[in-house]
């Protein structure tokens, strides 16, 4: 009798779940809604409609490392990120925003959303400091919970994406 190793046995033996087994879009939306109300403004809403992203986008993210390991990534147009920064800073916003201001504010929003996503996942987990730039690549499309919304009519996404399977180790030369 012959058998074929499909990997099913190994996969079924792994304890690590994919994100869609742990959290759904509604939970991510609820977390983001709370963050927006508290940080961006009481009258600021995220409308659960997918929009079209401009060519120039910016992402901010934090890593979650624990029973589930991955990244919580916010992505929006650079101008929208600047608008978020102005809303967050309110009267304290400088007349001319610098890239550092936007990175700081957009990163802090990722930190708050990511921290609360982490709390909704099995723990204990560790949270990284926020980072801002080009979004980390999705490694496993099956391990992604992605929410697409509009803020003030502009597209914004929140992606909770797994970091496993690990990227291959580079060849040693």
């Amino acid at each position: 009798m012959s058998s074929t190793d499909t990997g099913e046995r190994r996969r079924s033996g792994e304890a690590r779940p994919v994100i869609t087994e742990l959290i759904d879009e509604a939970t991510v939306q609820s977390i983001a809604d709370d963050a927006w109300t508290a940080l961006v403004g009481e009258d600021e809403f995220l409308v659960p409609i997918a929009g079209e992203f401009p060519g120039d986008v910016l992402s901010s993210w934090v890593d979650v490392v624990g029973p589930w390991t991955g990244t919580v990534v916010l992505t929006t147009g650079r101008e929208t990120a600047a608008g978020l920064t102005r809303a967050l800073l309110g009267d304290h916003a400088p007349a001319e925003l610098e890239d550092e201001d936007i990175a700081d504010a957009f990163g802090e929003i990722a930190n708050v959303v990511g921290g609360n996503v982490k709390a909704a996942l099995p723990g204990p987990s560790a949270l990284s400091l926020p980072d801002v730039g080009h979004a980390p690549a999705v490694r496993n499309p099956a391990d992604v919970c992605r929410l697409e919304v509009l803020w003030r009519g502009e597209a914004l996404s929140i992606s909770v994406q797994g970091a496993l399977p690990a990227l291959p180790v580079p060849h040693q030369h």
Binding site: D34, A35, T37, A38, L39, T85, L88, L89, G90, D91, H92, D101, D104, A105, G107, E108, N111, V112, G114, G115, N116, K118, A119, G123, P124, S125, L127, S128, L129
Partner: protein, 127 residues
């Protein structure tokens, strides 16, 4: 009353500082725990410290431990203001010596309520 706001995010420092200033606090700021300790050792000792958890150089938990190791700062009230919202993290922070814990995101009213519980609202605001 004086307050020291420690957070690596300038935006968050501005938000927390603005809320405290609206409540009548004189506010100083620091970008991480080490800078916060430098403010204290420099002689600017507040009644209240709000401190984030995840920061570079020295995190909030290390800061709390360092403050609690110095008897001269025993009277200082420490409030963690952080996105770390797991129960185990809250227990760790309180065990290390923090008095109160505020989870981001928070509203100005929530912060004010916590200060009232701690008896740290200036009298004219508390009335």
């Amino acid at each position: 009353m004086r307050a020291l706001v420690i957070d690596d995010s300038r935006a968050m420092r501005r938000i927390v500082s603005g809320t405290l200033e609206d409540l009548g606090f004189e506010v100083n700021q620091a970008g991480d725990g080490q800078q916060g300790l430098e403010v204290l050792t420099g002689g600017w000792v507040p009644e209240l410290v709000t401190v984030d958890w995840n920061m570079p150089v020295m995190d909030g938990l290390q800061f709390v431990a360092a403050v609690r190791a110095n008897p001269a700062w025993r009277a200082m009230t420490i409030m963690m203001v952080t996105s770390e919202s797991e129960h185990t993290q809250i227990v760790r922070a309180l065990a290390a010596g923090a008095h109160e814990y505020v989870i981001k995101p928070f509203t100005a009213d929530a912060l004010r309520d916590k200060l009232a519980l701690l008896g740290l609202l200036p009298q004219e605001v508390a009335l």
